[in-house]
Amino acid sequence: MIVKVEGLVKRYDKLVALDYLDLEVKEGEIFGLLGPNGSGKTTAINCILSLLKYDKGTIEVFDKPMGPDEYKLKKDIGLIMQNVAVFDELTVYENISYFCSLYIKDKKEVKRLTEEAIEFVSLDDYKKFYPKKLSGGLLRRLNIACGIVHKPKLIILDEPTVAVDPQSRNKILEGIKKLNEDGATIIYTSHYMEEVEQICSKIAIIDKGKVIAQGTKDELKSMISVGEKITIEAYQVNDLQLNTIKNLPNIYSVEYRENQLEIKTGRGNNNLVTILEYMAEQKISFGRVITELPTLNDVFLEITGKELRD
């Protein structure tokens, strides 16, 4: 086990930030910690890294108890934070080299790893640039390079794509996948469910300091009753027809707003066909039809009764 957290409790006076949190991260996983802002993701990460004292619980990293002085364990961990943490007075190369030298003693090795990290994040043309001269996306890449330069076995990324343009975000996500393919275990915290869904092999949904659901994305989606979301552009649907659609087999909910008919169905085949047949029979004219599988937001919504973005 790479990380094992059991019964973790962290209080800030009366506020319970972590409420008996349990997590297990296995080797080779990209473990997503998904939750809205203030759900306790960063607090959990800080506790795992021993940056923060906690009130109760145990944390093991690489099967050993983690503590502030466990430098051997820290040596194999890389941290990439939400805010860019680099020195404005050092160049791109000097920053990466400095953070590498905190982990690696050998100068030649530091140089080699620095070059590799620069290549990995495609900052070769910006080696001598100072951070203030870099764009937001490039700065994020520098931040990542500083966190992964020493080739850690465990990489913790705490919301690394906040306020990043879509192009840079994709590059970052691709980079994370590549790091994982190269053997690193990743813990990735985010409140962007699309990102988590896109890259994580295992996901823990966290809310109010508790893990409310955990598993692969398919496992999570199978936990909820909604199997499919159907949106039909339909005209002049009356209340009686809406009621009838609602009573069709395997229909979970129906909403009609501004000529958009939104239907959530349970798991099963032919849900769409049944609905469209009824509409044809009732001569309800319709346009575009969109069907979607449930998202992690639906999972969160069904479990907590609120949107992930709330």
């Binding site: 940056l51 502030p68 943490a85 007075e89 905190l102």
Partner: protein
Amino acid sequence: MQVFKTYFKILKKNLTSVIIFGVIFITITLVITLTMFHEDNGQFSVKKVPTLVINQDTDSNLVDGFLTYLEQYATFVDIEEDEEIRRDALFYRKVLYILTIPEGFTEDFLAGNEINLIKETVPDSVEAMSVDTAVNNYLNTAKIYIKHNPDVDLNKLGDFIQQDLGTETKVTFDVKQEDDTTAAHMFNSFYYNYLGYIIVACFIAGVSTVMLSFHGLDIRRKHYAAPLSSRRFNIQLINANLAFVMCYLLVFIIAGYVFSPVKLIDLNLVFMWLNAFVFSLAALSISYLIGISVKAKNAVQALSTMLSLSLAFISGMFVPQEFLGDAVLKLASFTPSYWYVRANNTIAHINNFNLDNMGEIFGYMAIQIGFAAAIISIALVVSKRKRQMAY
């Protein structure tokens, strides 16, 4: 050593402002100290005064001799003999002294009658006094000759007087060594008192800025997450700070010695070096505290200016402590800079070191170290609290 090296890389980036601070301050310091030193150096040289002489008397050997003698103290200027033009010349300082030799001057002088030389000078002119003295010297000596030898040859009178007044007695005071020592102590006292201001300003500008970079919240988190103990991290930072302080102080010590008008290294100077080093530790602790407490570089620069100036003014770095009021000195005694200046002043006045006066100096240094320890303790508490409150 990675933190140590990075400290200097960051410092290098901020060094321009530190160097500018240093160069400006050292220039101002040297100009002020050297000016003050030269004001009271006992040197004298004759300065010739632009003078207009209007001779209404007939040409005589007496007048010729008089003017020849006067030429040693005055530069004769030719100006039209128009009253208006003469007044303008005085007003615009073309001449500082107008001497009119009245008609019948030679005759009256030789007859022993009262003579009236007419003079016009720039009001309150110091230069006029040297011409007055020269005129009086010449005429009084001439009067003595004529009184005691009425038949004196007027052709030779001028030569006699020149010879008499030109005779100088060389007097040698065997105090050169003592003068040099006093001068050196005076210069060092001024220089090292002003240095206190430079130390505070430059250290805050330099050390605080680097500390600010190392103690940014996110950078701190990255350091805590790295396999580098807080102890090792802090030791490297402290060593880097001390190295910076030593280098910077050394530059100022060398500059002080190079620019000193008297090259003398004695125990007084060594004590001043030691005092400057001790004060540097106190200034370093202040800079460290500011570096970990303040969040913006602009605030550091503002604090650097404000704190260094206020400490300098109330502690007697600019104005001697004797001229400061009791209330100000009382307030200043709660700052290390007051004890630094006091130690410097004490050192400057010591001619023979003994246990009593050395004890007094070490006492002042101990107080400065006490301040440094107290400020560092506060800094450590702030640092610990910041770490606890960081998340």
